[in-house]
């Protein structure tokens, strides 16, 4: 545990002293005998709270856990599970009609800005400062990855919730093929160096090229080239790693000079596009779902994929390659060790009817036992102590997951950020489809971003 946490401090993320915090938490728990969940929940007995999120294993895990909370408190929890964009749309419609259907919501953090700016949320401090509600044993300031918490659930210096999942992406590869002596010999003869877990993007490409055998239906990689958010998320890994970014801003809630058309960004997109030829034929119509299938069906050698999806490639009931996989940080470019993070966060709408009961549930879910349980079932906890648990350490991808958590880079969460995503998805898709060069596509994206954001985001790299 300590080894991993010591391994690397991220650009923005500062790990809390996890070990220390665990002992602190225990001390608090001992002295806080006065507070109990049952007592705190007593006034809300019989109420029903409702939430909405993306139908993914962490949410399914929550669905399976909630009965414990219901039995202790007499509060009923209803969970609506939707597909990603529908989960976002339903919440937008609910918040804007101010009807308060949901007592708390689970949303990707790129949505934060527009929620806050429109006054749709209740800051979480209100409940944390309420001694009747606050479990003294719960110390988010100590038990969470502070960087992840700030990135995922804070906006302009205020906390609006806690991370539901800290989703990052890292390298997936076929360990069995990498260790295959015949492949190793052939690879060395061709490229002049030993086959290894790719540490640089050149190595990553060599491996992709080497393993691409369309006649056998096997490909070096698979990229998520569909016109869909997945494309943007995936490319961000390359962008960051090549030393680029979308904007020069210190935090997600700030606007800054646009650098999405920097030479580094163009280089990263050229490189990314170069991977299309090592991918399955309809890689330009793939999103996370399809690349997942490609890997599960043993049709691809390596890819950059999500931490919360990893359990499904290691699950023998769905995957033909479980046990044959290796996981690591993505290869490094000029940007050094980096990772892309998208968190889903607990939030309490301003119009919610049972805010207090919702807070009690969220707080209960953030406790170690629930976090561990959820994490073991495909979640991505934001508590370092969860990663320290022996069961979690045994998971094949825990190390890759933790390492990426530590180097994850913030992304914009300003009100316009979902629209920025749309702009980039469109231009990235144009470039991959061969309609524009990388320079043209990113220049157009920069112009569109500038038009949307106005003066706060000047172009750093002028468009010719």
């Amino acid at each position: 545990m300590t080894e991993h946490t010591k391994s690397r401090f991220g650009k923005l993320l500062r790990l809390s002293a996890a070990v220390g915090s665990v002992s602190l938490t225990l001390a608090y728990a001992a002295e806080a005998g006065a507070w109990s969940l049952e007592e705190a929940a007593a006034p809300y007995k019989g109420t029903t709270i409702r939430t909405i999120g993306e139908s993914l294993p962490p949410l399914e895990a929550m669905d399976k856990l909630k009965h414990k909370f219901e039995e202790r408190t007499g509060i009923t929890v209803v969970i609506e599970q939707y597909e990603h964009s529908e989960a976002v749309n339903k919440v937008m419609l609910d918040l804007n009609s101010k009807r308060g259907r949901y007592d708390f919501i689970l949303q990707p953090h790129r949505e934060l800005g527009r929620f806050v700016a429109n006054g749709h949320l209740t800051p979480i401090e209100r409940f944390m400062n309420d001694p009747k509600l606050r479990d003294p044993a719960f110390k988010p300031e100590e038990v969470l990855y502070q960087g992840l918490w700030k990135e995922i659930s804070w906006y302009e210096g205020k906390a609006y919730g806690f991370p539901f999942t800290a989703l990052t992406m890292y390298l997936w590869y076929r360990k069995d093929l990498l260790e295959d002596p015949k492949e190793r010999a052939g690879f060395k003869a061709k490229y002049g160096y030993d086959m290894q877990v790719p540490a640089t993007w050149d190595q990553y490409r060599d491996l992709a090229a080497w393993f691409t055998r369309p006649e056998k239906g096997f490909y070096g990689t698979a990229i998520q080239g569909k016109r869909h958010e997945a494309l943007w998320y995936e490319w961000l890994n390359f962008l960051y790693s090549f030393g680029g970014d979308m904007m020069e801003a210190k935090s997600g809630s700030e606007c800054g000079p646009i650098i999405v058309n920097s030479p580094e960004a163009v280089e990263s997109l050229d490189y990314y596009k170069g991977l299309v030829k090592y991918s399955p034929s309809d890689t330009l119509n793939y999103f996370w779902d399809d690349v997942m299938v490609a890997m599960q069906q043993g049709k691809a050698f390596e890819m950059i994929m999500w931490n919360d999806a990893t359990y499904a490639v290691e699950d023998p009931s769905q995957s033909t390659v479980s046990g044959k996989m290796g996981f690591d940080l993505i290869p490094q470019g000029k940007g050094g060790k980096v990772g892309q993070v998208e968190g889903w966060t607990y939030l309490i709408p301003a119009y919610a009817k049972n805010k207090e009961a919702a807070y009690l549930f969220i707080q209960w879910m953030m406790a170690f036992d629930q976090q561990l349980e959820q994490h073991m079932n495909g979640g991505a906890s934001s508590r370092p102590d969860v990663y320290a648990a022996p069961d979690v350490q045994k998971i094949t991808y825990s190390k890759a997951s933790m390492d990426t958590n530590a180097v994850a880079i913030a992304k914009p969460t300003i009100p316009e950020s979902p629209e920025l995503t749309e702009i980039l998805v469109l231009e990235l898709s144009n470039v991959l489809a061969g309609k524009k060069t990388s320079q043209e596509g990113l220049d157009d994206a920069a112009l569109a971003m500038n038009k949307l954001l106005g003066d706060c985001a000047p172009l750093k790299f002028p468009v010719k």
């Binding site: 937008m92 080239g225 034929s281 119509n285 316009e416 749309e422 489809a433 309609k435």
Partner: protein
């Protein structure tokens, strides 16, 4: 007694309005109202995403933006025109040919015809998914056989290729709607009077001449009807393409309704989205007005 007769007299005279009002009320409240609201919104900056955009009046700003500053909209408009003209002409040609063939030769039509109805009766969402399954680049059934036949390269997939994807979604539409054209023409052919044909045969006209000089002119109203009904529906196309490609790769299959969806439900730029949606409605209304006349020609009634 007298009173009740008087009452029923009122009721009697009132039957017209009484019977019409509920229908009109429903439409006005549920459709005209929202539509007018949308037109109103199109003059505002209403946005669910951006703070301060609470529906302030901005005049024709959104319309100006559409005309001057939004190449993507016009691109999708162009894509839609290609889609509409492509599918309508292919469906028309194929469907008409098939109708002629079936009309002259096939005996027990009913059962066969009903089977033909199946593609267009399925939910468009299901149609989209069905074809996604068939066209998948790795395990798609159709992809596999096209590759076996050498019609498709191993590194090409119909839905992942920028140049092939639009023709592909158009073919799916052709698959779905050609039977409709066939059935309408069959019904039309069956309703034609026999005399002109008998007379022509007596005069020794060749089949092609009969077709050109008698069949086509008699069917003209139906031809117009088919073109316009299909044109309107193709112009509104959303579900299938949305499921199949989401508008990509790039903007290759971004039809106007998908673009309008994006502006409204992705960017939540409702003021501008209203303008885009209004444009879709406008084109449909124009097509509607034309098809209305066509329908009346068929009925043999004059428009008063």
């Amino acid at each position: 007694m007298n009173l009740s007769r008087w009452g029923s007299g009122i009721l009697d005279r009132g039957v017209g309005p009484l019977f019409l009002v509920p229908a009109l009320l429903l439409l006005v409240v549920l459709l005209v109202g929202p539509f007018l609201y949308m037109v109103g919104v199109s003059f505002t900056d209403l946005s669910f995403a951006l703070p301060g955009h609470d529906g302030n009046f901005v005049g024709f700003e959104n319309y100006r933006r559409l005309m001057r500053e939004d190449p993507v909209f016009w691109q999708s408009f162009g894509t839609t025109l290609v889609f509409v003209s492509g599918v309508v002409s292919v469906e028309f040609g194929l469907g008409f040919a098939l109708a002629l063939l079936l009309f002259h030769h096939v005996q027990r039509r009913r059962f066969v015809l009903t089977l033909l109805l199946i593609p267009m009766m399925l939910a468009p969402v299901a149609v989209g998914l069905m074809w996604k399954l068939m066209l998948h680049g790795e395990f798609g059934m159709l992809t596999h056989y096209l590759r076996e036949l050498g019609l498709l390269g191993p590194q090409t997939a119909l839905l992942g290729n920028h140049d092939l994807v639009l023709p592909t979604v158009m073919l799916v539409d052709v698959w779905e709607w050609t039977p409709f054209v066939t059935l309408v023409f069959l019904a039309g052919l069956l309703s034609l009077p026999r005399e002109p044909f008998e007379a022509a045969v007596m005069d020794g006209a060749r089949p092609w001449q009969v077709f050109r000089d008698i069949t086509v002119p008699l069917l003209r109203p139906i031809i117009a009807l088919v073109l316009l009904l299909r044109g309107i529906d193709a112009f509104k196309e959303f579900d299938k393409v949305f499921i199949l490609t989401g508008g990509g790769p790039g903007t290759a299959t971004e039809l106007i309704s998908i673009y309008a969806w994006r502006v409204n439900f992705r960017n939540w730029d409702l003021g501008y989205g209203a303008v885009c949606a209004f444009m879709v409605y406008l084109v449909v209304l124009i097509l509607c007005a034309v098809s209305y006349k066509a329908i009346y020609w068929t009925e043999g009634r004059a428009v008063k």
